[in-house]
Symmetry: C2
Subunit: 234 residues, 2 copies
């Protein structure tokens, strides 16, 4: 209980290599890549300390030389995939650039479906996150506003992307894991809700479900949400 971390212990503040002792067998990039590979292939829940160590080919407890807590492993994973962001020269049209950023982030999250779950609490300040943030701010150079407003815009766009793609992924995984089609799922949901709604206590809900019977166009929903958020910033 004595000398254990009287400091935030952000992993990015501790150096990867101190110079003393034998050279580490793996880099942080190696570890992050292994964890990302597992998460992409088998889901986030398959990312355990034992499994990652096995993927690297070392003992379980050796991982703790690189990563003090599992939470920091998650941090490494988020930073690794944040490096996949393509950073272009701003076009001069900040609105178009932010839409492009949002679509790219959405694609990134669909490539790594575990990302929304890790991002939803709060995203930190990893190296690649800083580069991404700086790029967003550079896209917003033509947007006449104090930096506080620009940061709020970036946070809002990121929040909306995380929320909506998280929903898309949850929906997709539910329909994939279950042994029936999306239409049947939809029908079953209508059937259950129909029973609730039949009581007459929810007339507007009933009208809503009667209005749009088909499956929801998730991409369209995302696009409209994004447009509305940007509209709110004028």
């Amino acid at each position: 209980m004595a000398g254990r971390a009287a400091v935030p212990e952000v992993i990015w503040s501790r150096p990867e290599r101190t110079g003393r002792g034998p050279r580490p067998a793996y880099t942080r990039a190696d570890i992050a890549a292994a964890a990302v590979r597992i998460a992409d292939a088998e889901g986030l829940d398959a990312v355990t300390m034992r499994r990652v160590a096995g993927e690297l080919g070392c003992g379980t407890m050796s991982l703790y030389n690189y990563v003090p807590r599992k939470e920091d492993l998650y941090e490494l994973m988020m930073d690794a995939v944040s490096g996949e962001h393509e950073l272009w020269e701003p076009s001069g049209d900040w609105r178009a650039d932010m839409i492009r950023v949002a679509h790219q982030t959405r694609a990134l999250m669909h490539r790594h479906t575990w990302l929304p779950r890790l991002m939803s609490p709060v995203y930190g300040f990893s190296p690649n996150a800083l580069r991404y943030l700086e790029h967003c701010l550079s896209c917003l150079d033509p947007f006449q506003a104090p930096y506080g407003t620009k940061m709020e815009l970036v946070a809002m766009v990121n929040g909306v992307v995380t929320t909506y793609v998280g929903n898309e992924i949850a929906t997709a995984e539910r329909t994939r894991s279950l042994p029936w089609s999306a239409d049947e799922e939809n029908a079953a949901r209508i059937a259950y809700l129909g029973r609730q709604v039949a009581s007459g206590a929810y007339p507007r809900l009933a009208a809503s479900f009667a209005e749009d019977a088909g499956p929801i166009d998730l991409e369209g929903v995302f696009e409209r949400a994004l447009t509305r958020v940007l509209d709110g910033f004028g």
Copy 2:
């Protein structure tokens, strides 16, 4: 492996009481209340099957007669606190009503700080969730738009509230669990980021942090985000 649930197994579709066998010692409301009490007092991670059973005064495995999986216990918790929503007669000004809804949900989440974590994947269709949804739609009666648009508005407001209050809570819990003040926290973060920014690779980030040195007004951020979202809907 044979007869185990070839159906979604939404907990709300199974009756609370079938009539056969001894009468259950507890109601779903009892169980939900116990779990909520624990989560409010000791955090969501303290809500384990053993702990809830202990709070009720029954054996651990007896809980599984009421709740097939832990996920369903979460569902019960969300429904229970959703019942705390105050549902008023719509004022005729849908914008004002939605702002009131959002503030009330925010207050609810601050009262039950584990809510954003449970809501972020997707919120289901529990009885009280349906009542809440119907209330939102009734507030939107003066809003001339198809129900699809109204549903998107409600979803967006809920998403923003969840995201932002989730951030507020994460920030608050970080400063509470750590043995230094918010100012020191802020200073430490500036110090760490300052080191990164000092390289000169992030000029706009540097300018941003130079601009607003004080602590962030989270309530103001929330208020502005909400206003902007509603502005996006005209």
